[in-house]
């Protein structure tokens, strides 16, 4: 139980152990701990930053979406307007075309009436002439009485 030279031996062992720990054990382990702490802190900061960026991007996306919606509604409005215009235009065109067709048809009808009138006149003249011929026999010469016949036929028209 007495104090003896063992004390010196133990002190040497102790000093060696402390020296070894100080030199080779504590620094690498402690550094790795510190480094990991830093890494974790950096990671957390990066995550925070990422989160903020996401918020920002979301905001931006919302803005873009809103703009796009506005643009598209504008485009739709324009298209509708244009479509209305086209419809109006085509209506007008159709109306005009119809009128034109009517006019030309009327003209044609008029023309045909005239033709028919002419034909009828001719026929009536012929009939009258043949009737007169039959009544008068050879007394009436066609060539002699040409002007009378044409006068009559004109009256008929």
């Amino acid at each position: 139980m007495s104090i003896n030279a063992t004390l010196i031996g133990q002190m040497i062992t102790f000093a060696l152990l402390v020296w070894f720990t100080m030199k080779y054990i504590w620094p690498p382990l402690f550094d790795s701990l510190e480094e990991r702490k830093k890494k974790i802190a950096d990671g957390l900061a990066a995550a925070e930053r990422g989160h903020e960026e996401i918020l920002l991007a979301e905001k931006k996306a919302k803005g873009v979406l809103k703009e796009a919606k506005e643009q598209s509604s504008e485009i739709v409005n324009l298209a509708q307007k244009r479509a209305n215009e086209i419809v109006e235009e085509s209506k007008d065109a159709a109306k005009k075309e119809g009128e034109r067709l009517i006019v030309s048809a009327k003209a044609q009808i008029e023309q045909e009436i005239q033709q028919a009138k002419e034909g009828l006149r001719q026929e009536v003249a012929d009939l009258a002439l043949s009737a007169a011929e039959q009544i008068l026999g050879a007394e009436i010469d066609k060539s002699k009485h040409q002007d009378i016949i044409s006068k009559v036929s004109n009256q008929l028209g």
Binding site: M1, G9, T21, P28, L33
Partner: protein, 258 residues
């Protein structure tokens, strides 16, 4: 005390036999071979384990060994940061070494009291005391080393004159100089003595109780030694912790300039 007693037979002989170290040499130059051997082996174990962890140390995902080592490092570092506010490359590694070494010393106490001496006697070793912290030399070696560091840092930080002033003029001012000096010297010297004796006393008593339990009939032994061993797990850790914390506190006191 061992020389005349180890001839005694019976219970006393058994106890004395267990508390007698394996020694060589005479007088002051006696060497307790078992203390030296076990403390060196345990120190080697500590250094080997931590060196292994330190070599593979990575700031990425730590392995099992590194995790355990880092847990201890973190624990010690917290204790150091709590009470020591200066900067020192020595204190934290010193505290780690003390904690682990003392813990391993004390842990030897949990081996059944007879098993290692029995193995020793098989290979011709007559006496074997396996717990180094039941040897005053082991505990005093640490506490005296710590004491030397206290003196060294006191002188280094405060200067020789500053340290001398602190010894002479505190706490009662220059008019009570001899009284101050006496008080301070006792205070300083009490530090290593209390450190060493606290550890020694706790472990010596613990070991003694294990030996006494071992003397009882075999069917009573487990009933007593099992709870005592469980209680001892607390004690060995606590004593290692106390030794470490007091070392840190003493050294931080040495660093503080009044």
């Amino acid at each position: 005390m061992a020389t005349e007693a180890h001839a005694a037979e019976g219970a006393t002989g058994y106890i004395i036999h267990h508390l007698t170290p394996l020694h060589a040499g005479e007088g002051f130059w006696t060497l307790h071979l078992d203390t030296l051997f076990f403390s060196a082996v345990l120190g080697g174990l500590f250094v080997w384990f931590f060196k292994m962890a330190a070599e593979k140390a990575t700031s990425g995902v730590p392995g099992l060994v590194q995790n355990f080592a880092e847990m201890l490092i973190e624990f010690v570092d917290t204790q150091v940061k709590d009470s020591f506010h200066g900067k020192s490359k020595l204190i934290a590694p010193l505290a780690l070494t003390i904690f682990c070494w003392v813990f391993l010393f004390n842990f030897m106490d949990l081996f059944p009291v007879d098993i290692l001496p029995l193995i020793g006697s098989m290979i011709g070793i007559e006496y074997l005391r396996v717990v180094p912290s039941t040897d005053l030399n082991a505990t005093f070696a640490m506490s005296i080393s710590v004491f030397c560091l206290i003196i060294f840092y006191s002188v280094k930080i405060k200067g020789p004159w500053g340290f001398a002033k602190e010894l002479m003029f505190q706490p009662f001012g220059p008019w009570l100089l001899p009284f101050n000096l006496l008080l301070k010297l006792v205070e300083e010297i009490a530090k290593p003595i209390s450190l060493a004796l606290r550890l020694f006393g706790n472990l010596y008593a613990g070991e003694l109780i294990f030996i006494l339990i071992a003397l009882l009939p075999w069917y009573i032994q487990p009933v007593l030694s099992f709870p005592w061993a469980i209680f001892h797990i607390l004690i060995i850790t606590l004593q290692a912790f106390i030794f470490m914390v007091l070392t840190i506190v003493y050294l931080s006191m040495a660093h503080e300039d009044h």
